[in-house]
């Protein structure tokens, strides 16, 4: 092979060197990418009131759309109604709702795992807002107070539901994952103490009236109403009565039972706004059916028979479908399906009626029988029923529990929580639910959480 070129390589040196220079440019700059325009950095988020607002309402959208408080089938309204004696399940036995209905939840149940993780995800966002706003100098004291108040209210609300579903749970107050990944289950008293602290701060921070004018954002009254319920669950009758009274005195009563679930209903303390104008509530989609037998779920005979003769709620809030032989019932509290127009409905989270019944119960316990009867009658009279005949403490408590059952049926698991705190779960459900066990008073801690955080041990009994 000829080598003359090898003898005079200098001629080619220049292009080679040029090429090498090009090749070996390994540019730090080239692999630098900007934050893409569909993402907003955490730093920028807390520079602007509008973006913090977007993160804040993100929590309400999530609460409305999924888990705990949603009106879709995954929410407590449906799941816990099936879990107790309010509804029967007619659908496919392999669908998750069947496990709630048959009270045979496993620790590996996906719905339970999602209830848990979705709630803690929303708690994370609340904490991120609390920390982000505190660390930013871009907001006025009012703005800071407002965001902090809402975030703390949400944090308290979610932990309150979690502690009642799962028992001892970690109360998460930071975004620091190093701390949160080894979070321990805290005694009930500690969780409740934190709920109260957060709600009290929320009451301090929140405005009297929310900016929306539609009661779709928490204000002082909303936090007080929740705190009244918290004290009720804690059996702190005095505080429950004081807070309920405060709410009652500052909220107009809705006298027409046909208007209770309308968006303008005066008895509303806090409600979720639907995504769009006419998308209406998820509750209507979940509960209403038009054929018999029902495709998925229907109110149980136990609930239907619980209504007294002449109860307007039986007539106005319950729909009926018959196949000619049998009749099936559904909750018609919300009537508008997506796209339908009429008297617009919003999904209620806190209603004034509950505050009356909270005060009634507290007054009973504190010996104010007449006051308790008056509160109870407020609810009964609106439903077209005569004044209560209950006069003793135990009769009144029974009457109030009954009234709560027919007033708040299929609303956010009220029936379950009431039976639980009255210690009547076994009596009420043991005989009519073949799968019921005493240990079903708590949901299982999701198995996958136990696998990654041993501090959550031990599992709740029975799972």
């Amino acid at each position: 092979m000829t080598t003359h070129l090898y003898n005079r390589p200098t001629k080619y040196l220049f292009p080679i060197l040029l090429f090498l220079c090009f090749s070996f440019i390994s540019c730090e700059d080239f692999v630098e990418v900007d934050t893409p325009n569909y993402l907003l950095s955490g730093e920028n988020l807390f520079n602007d009131k509008k973006t913090v607002e977007a993160a804040m309402v993100g929590i309400y959208a999530q609460l409305r759309n999924s888990f705990l408080l949603t009106g879709t089938s995954q929410g407590l309204s449906n799941m816990m109604a099936l879990y107790t004696d309010e509804m029967d399940y007619y659908g496919n036995s392999t669908i998750r709702e069947a496990s709630f209905y048959r009270n045979n939840l496993l620790a590996s149940d996906e719905t339970v795992a999602e209830l848990w993780s979705a709630s803690y995800n929303q708690i994370y966002t609340s904490n991120a807002i609390i920390e982000g706003v505190a660390g930013s100098s871009n907001f006025t004291p009012e703005e800071t107070a407002h965001f902090t108040g809402e975030a703390k209210f949400i944090r308290a609300l979610l932990h309150f539901y979690l502690v009642n579903l799962f028992g001892e749970v970690p109360y998460i107050k930071t975004t620091n994952y190093l701390e949160n990944q080894v979070a321990k289950r805290q005694p009930l008293a500690e969780v409740y103490a934190s709920v109260i602290t957060d709600l009290e701060e929320a009451i301090n921070h929140l405005p009297e009236e929310d900016s929306s004018g539609e009661r779709v954002r928490p204000n002082k009254r909303v936090a007080k109403a929740l705190l009244a319920r918290v004290y009720l669950y804690m059996e702190n009758w005095e505080m429950a009565a004081i807070l309920a009274e405060d709410v009652i005195n500052n909220t107009a009563w809705e006298a027409d039972p046909q208007r209770v679930f309308l968006k303008e209903s005066t008895g509303t303390i806090w409600q979720f706004m639907p995504e769009f104008e006419e998308s209406n509530t998820y509750e209507a989609q979940t509960f209403i059916f038009q054929t018999a037998p029902p495709p998925a779920r229907a109110l149980s005979a136990h609930l239907i028979s619980a209504f007294e003769e002449g109860d307007l709620r039986r007539e106005l809030w319950i729909g009926e479908v018959s196949d000619g032989v049998d009749s099936y019932y559904y909750s018609a509290k919300y009537k508008l399906l997506p796209g339908e127009t009429g008297n617009a409905e919003y999904s209620k989270v806190l209603r004034l009626a509950e505050q009356y019944l909270i005060r009634a119960e507290a007054r009973t316990k504190m010996g104010d029988i007449a006051g308790a009867q008056a509160d109870l009658n407020k609810i009964r009279n609106r439903a077209g029923l005569a004044n209560t005949t209950a006069a003793s403490e135990s009769d009144l408590l029974k009457a109030i529990l009954h009234e709560r059952r027919v007033e708040f049926f299929v609303e956010h698991g009220n029936r379950f929580f009431d039976l639980k705190r009255a210690n009547q779960l076994d009596d009420a459900l043991g005989s009519i639910k073949p799968g019921w066990n005493t240990t079903d008073r708590l949901l299982p801690i999701p198995e996958k959480e136990l696998l990654v955080n041993p501090n959550l041990q031990p599992q709740n009994p029975g799972y």
Binding site: I16, L20, S23, F24, I25, S26, F30, V31, V33, D34, P36, N37, Y38, L39, S41, G42, L45, A55, V57, G58, A61, Q62, N65, D88, S93, A98, N103, L106, A107, S108, A113, N121, I123, Y124, P170, I172, T175, Y177, N180, Q181, A183, R217, M273, E275, F276, Q290, T291, P293, P295, D326, P338, P434, G435, E447, E449, L450, L451, V452, N453, P454
Partner: protein
Amino acid sequence: MKNNYRRSLALTGIFAFFLTYNSPIFSQNLPQKNISGNITDGADPLSGVNVLVKNTARGSISDLEGRYSVTASPNDTLVFTYVGYKLREVAVGSGSLLNVTMQVDATALDQVVINAGYYKVSDKEKTGSIARVTAEEIENQPVSNPLAAMQGRMAGVNIVQNTGVPGGGFSVRIRGRNSIRADGSEPLYIVDGVPYPSQSLGNFEVSTVMGDAQSPLNGINPNDIESIEVLKDADATAIYGSRGANGVVLITTKKGKAGKTRFNVSSTTGVGVLSRRMNLLNTEEYLAMRREAFANDGIAEYPAYAYDINGTWDQQRYTDWQKVLLGGAANYTNVNASVQGGDAYTSFLLSGNHRKETTVFPGDFEYNKNSVLANINHTSRDGRVEVRFTANYVVDDNNMPTTSMVYAALSLPPNAPALYNETGGLNWENGTFQNPLAALEGKYLSQTNTLLGSGSISYRLFNNFTLKSNFGYSNIALEESSTSPNTIYDPAYGLDSSFSSISVNNGERKSWIVEPQLEYKRDFGKAEISALVGSTFQSETITNLYQYAYDFTSNNLIYDIGSAAYVDILASSKEEYRYNAVYGRVNLNWAEKYLLNLTGRRDGSSRFGPGKRFANFGAVGVAWIFSEEKGIAKTLPFLSFGKLRGSYGSSGNDQIGNYGYLDTYQGNGFSYQGIPTLQPTRLFNPSFGWETNRKLEVALELGFVENRLLINAAYYRNRSTNQLVGIPLPATTGFPSLQGNLDATVQNTGLELELNTINIQNDNVHWNTTINFSRPRNELISFPGLETSTYANQFVVGEPLDIILQYNYLGVDRETGLYTFQDYDNNGEITSPDDKKKVTRIGVDYFGGLGNNLRYKNFTVAVLFQFVKQKGYNYLYTSALPGDMVNQATEVLDHWQNPGDNATTQQYSAGFNSDAYSAYGRLLGSTATVGDASYVRLKNIALSYQLPLKSEFGLACRLFAQGQNLLTITDFKGLDPETCAQQLPSLRQISAGVEIQF
């Protein structure tokens, strides 16, 4: 088919050979005459064949029509040589016309040129571990995805087809799972030098019918592939640096061949059916189970919703739902046409392909794939400039139901009502029956347009240096939608089209790459040095829009999102990925005996945070061809080839999402009070870096009896450190995981054997056998702090990554009739995680393939068996509670009824016995759900007959028949041992076709 593309390479090689051939002994003084003739391979003319008069320097090269002429005397011998063919010597004799037929030399190791990515190497001189399948093997199989064509054919490459639904995904593991992350072990795909995404643009929430996202490789037409090479060890993969940790799959498309302009048309049609089914209860058995279940639960009056036994449904009725819902025949048609030709300087190829495939589901569904491949190659007259350009355009059109029907086929009670009523409409049995065919009202539609343009320009500066640049552009656009019209519901519900909805996922990936390189090659007598330096600039933009629209005024408008009353944008993003690298290779070949190969790469990726972006990777490979040593050749004369090779080095892995190091918020498509909402994207960690994989390999390659028996044995040990993972976190942190590095080491070791034999070889018969065998082993060798980490209940040091911690199943208690499990903590209760302590290994133990190719005259047969020894989830893993309103495998018949019974299934329960349900729930997390999933599969039979045509136009015609997945031998309890999941198994396909060439 012949590997004719080698022809162009041969031209240059032979030219060099000519110049260096120096033994000019003059021939005797006999009268010289002109000898001419045609050279063919039996069918086609061969151009570029080197013709030499033995013992002279005289010779010539055959032209495009295979003609040659040379001057020689009658005593002379002509020597015909051509790359990939056996050398032929023919005595000249008295005549002047000498036609020669060349025979393919399947055993010529130095003639098999392998694509190693940035460079090519002969099989003989390679220092790394590279497996290969060729066009011939691919075309023998009636498959639509190149990955399907690789199954069972390559040692160390384990491919699982996840579903039999056309367009579905595959799982590919090259030498095991390197990453603790389940999803970080995808290989790097390179098509004609351009990186091709291993991640689908598809969304598994939309393509529910496949159980997973679409396969990204749908954009490559198997018929367009010339060869697929899989790079496995450090020596071969280190030049791909950060992306080579999990192996590299190089796909080379066909190139135009010089010569007479040739047309080729082939057409195949076939049919596919379900390859396996389960034995389920018949009506009598099923109803007996249900009655017993309610009796066991103490429920005398059947509930209103137990339609199967409370008298609502006909209890005499029986339907084999597997037959009705999955028993159809999928038709398959493939038509391919191509034209190619050119001269010694310029060649071209134009190829088009149409493929259509229907499904086994009832209803009208089909998968269409249309593709065009255009290739042009040019070499300048002075040989200095070489240009190659290939454009590949594939339109992939999939129309499927939204569900695969597998679940319905296995679970519907056998006495469920008829599908249609008297009037031919769907039967809803008065609202008691969720008709499975209703799901077919919903459609999954997808269209993917894949454009790949790639090319290279090289310029030979002078003999030793070549300047070269690869460049490429790819654009993959996917649009998929899944509809849920109101007609999927019982019309009695009175739902109108305002309940109709559609999910639409649009994704687009645009990428460009430029790779300037400089090659150096020089021969110093005994030593030959080749070197390469180059750099890569790559930029990729991925956009995604995932929308959900509902409430339409008419179902006819369902594909028009603008006609929906409501539209939620569930995801919208535009991501950018930048990648930059510098790499090099130095190869030293000493006397064709000692080989040294050094490769290295410095890489930067935008997926990492500042300061963590760049990393270095490198490898050294050595080989000793000891059969070239004189001493060994003398003592071991039966040894025709012997090579010992080894390599060590590192490569990396950056298969994580973009922007993981940023603290960000993003929209989720929802609004509240009219305000579009924002939510935190993730927990962020600004400081994660590369995962590194150190690979070691030792291999021995031996050839006997003129290489008619070739044995290739390799041992490898790969260690993957600084594991880049989404560390699982408890939900209390707000998120399920955090991106970060773990100080854990995963080791993959394994043994790979390849055996090729030529059993018979003569003019009429050629029979060869290939065997490949792989025995991979995976082990987590260190994980400091595992016990206190969130992985404590997932991994065990000293065990493979593919383990599950399970309840140890002990059988059915004879007294209680319930499943029982080992109580590890002796607390009287079976709870997780304290009693989930049994380590169960799943995954492959060994796998391989056995192929036989026989040619007798014009007739060829190719048969491939695939074998896999493995453990996997059996049917119990997805089974329902025995006694529930779901059909069951016949195994449940052996069940507990009375105290003292010894049974495999616990007492039936309708779901109201909490103890029975809990025991069933634990069974799903127990060792009972894992079993032997080994199988031997007759993967492929291909028969072909070349018609003995004598035509002036070179007309050739071939008839062929092919079968895929014809037979599966297995003890697996479940639907399909390949997927071990409730997915449609790969179909059994039979097809026939014809190929005409002129």
